[in-house]
Amino acid sequence: MTSSVATPSHSPPPAQARSRQKVPALALVAPSVIALVLWMVVPLAMAIWFAFQRYNLLLPENREFAGLENFTYILTDPALWVSIGITLVLVVSVLAITIGLGTLLAVLFNQEFFGRGIARVLAISPFFVMPTVSALIWKNMLMHPVNGLFAQITRGLGLGAIDWFADFPLISIIIIVSWQWLPFALLILLTAIQSLDTDQMEAARMDGAKPPALFRFIVLPHMSRAIAVVAMIETIFFLTLFSEIFVTTGGGPGIATTNLAYYIYLKALLEFDVGGASAGGLIAVVLANLVAIFLMRSVARNLDT
């Protein structure tokens, strides 16, 4: 309890009120903190422990210390590097699509037009659809090579049908995930653009600035932080994309859509290789932390206690 936290607009509470609160305040925060410490530390410690063990759930009695064996085994598995590559392709392409289109759509939906409220509600809806449902809509009703709507349309035009998940598996996943997350980018970026100072825009327009220049020099700089936040939050999710792949391609054909999360899932729950999966999991943790550091910095700047 230091008085330095008191803001000028608000005088510190009387001394006796503060001391009355000191112990309870700690007790009130403690349950949340303890729960999260356990949630973070226990599984992570176990993952580190398992990563140094030879441990297969099918042969639990053959458990022994393995040193760095799991790491050397995992790191020399070509499939791991392929899966990391696929993870990065997924992250980068979906980020580019959602943020690029999201920025343009945010500008569009910032204009006044007839029925804008309803149009906006329709546009952000995909974000609220559970991932297994959206994956199945696309897989069965839109991209299915025989009865899917896309196939029917292209056949109707005499172009023949595309077997999306066989011929363009990764692109199909990218399309589905982009459809789910474009509304997220739109929602956040639209909120950011609406806080833009209209006087400044007006003044620039008076000085003869054209719309592209206005966008480039006023709107984009204003939105840069929101764009960064969207990019980082999406990256955290995209690094461990799972259910869309689980429902549509199952990582295939071959390992064409096996990202890092799916690779670890295959190791853990299909091969029952606890040691190898834990080592892979730690790699995912390290990757995510690299992103998280930047995200936390951006949030911290905005946090005034």
């Binding site: 936290v5 949340s32 729960a35 993952a47 609220f128 659809v129 199945l136 932080r225 949030v299």
Partner: protein, 273 residues
Amino acid sequence: MASQTSRQWLITLLGWLVACLLFFPIFWMFITSFKTEVAAVATPPQLFFQPTLENYVDVQARASYFNFAWNSVVISLGATILALLLAIPAAYAMSFFPTKRTKGTLLWMLSTKMLPAVGVLVPIYILGRETGLLDTRIGLIIIYTLINLPIVVWMIYSFFKEVPKEILEADRMDGASTYQEVVHVLLPLALPGIASTALLSIILSWNEAFWSLNLTTFDAAPLTAFIASFSSPQGLFWAKLSAASSMAIAPILIFGWVSQRQLVRGLTFGAVK
């Protein structure tokens, strides 16, 4: 003046085109849910048809659908209530009695969100097996509570910060206890914020698919897992699947529409307002 009008037309047209394109897959699923199974896979696709409710009747008739739906309801509500019970006292202490460590604690809480689930899949699976919590609703409730707790604490903290301290202090001078102060003054004032926090927590829990797919088989499986079980190649049940899916997403869509404004704050941890 003419160019002004045509520009307005263009914007309206573009805006609605984008909205309809993005919404189309959901619309198409919804339409399909009212078709017969034969009409659902007909060539060419039918936009006009004799609507039927038989898919909804069929899905409802299956007892297992209710099992999954009930699991979704219990797990999302359970996790949300538990998270609120943990978060409200913590947010109260942090927003009205901040210490040097408050900012650090909040940021640390958010950082737990950055731990990728897949990194701890194996330990959690084994812990669940050892404790008998695998494929139980309690197990998922605990996990969803912990996943959402940082966001819930953060949102309620930011809503509490907006309540003028003077009101609480005046009340305290009148001799109100901490409990009375919180329940009779603070919570009613912050109720809209708490409600939108609860909605976000319900939405996230309802749609969560990583843990529900990996930790449940049948007993505690929510709708996400039920829908995923249709992923095996079977083209014959699209209409029924659409009906089940429509029911699964309808409540969450409505929650999302209602609370879209406040959600931005929660989804970005307050970094975008």
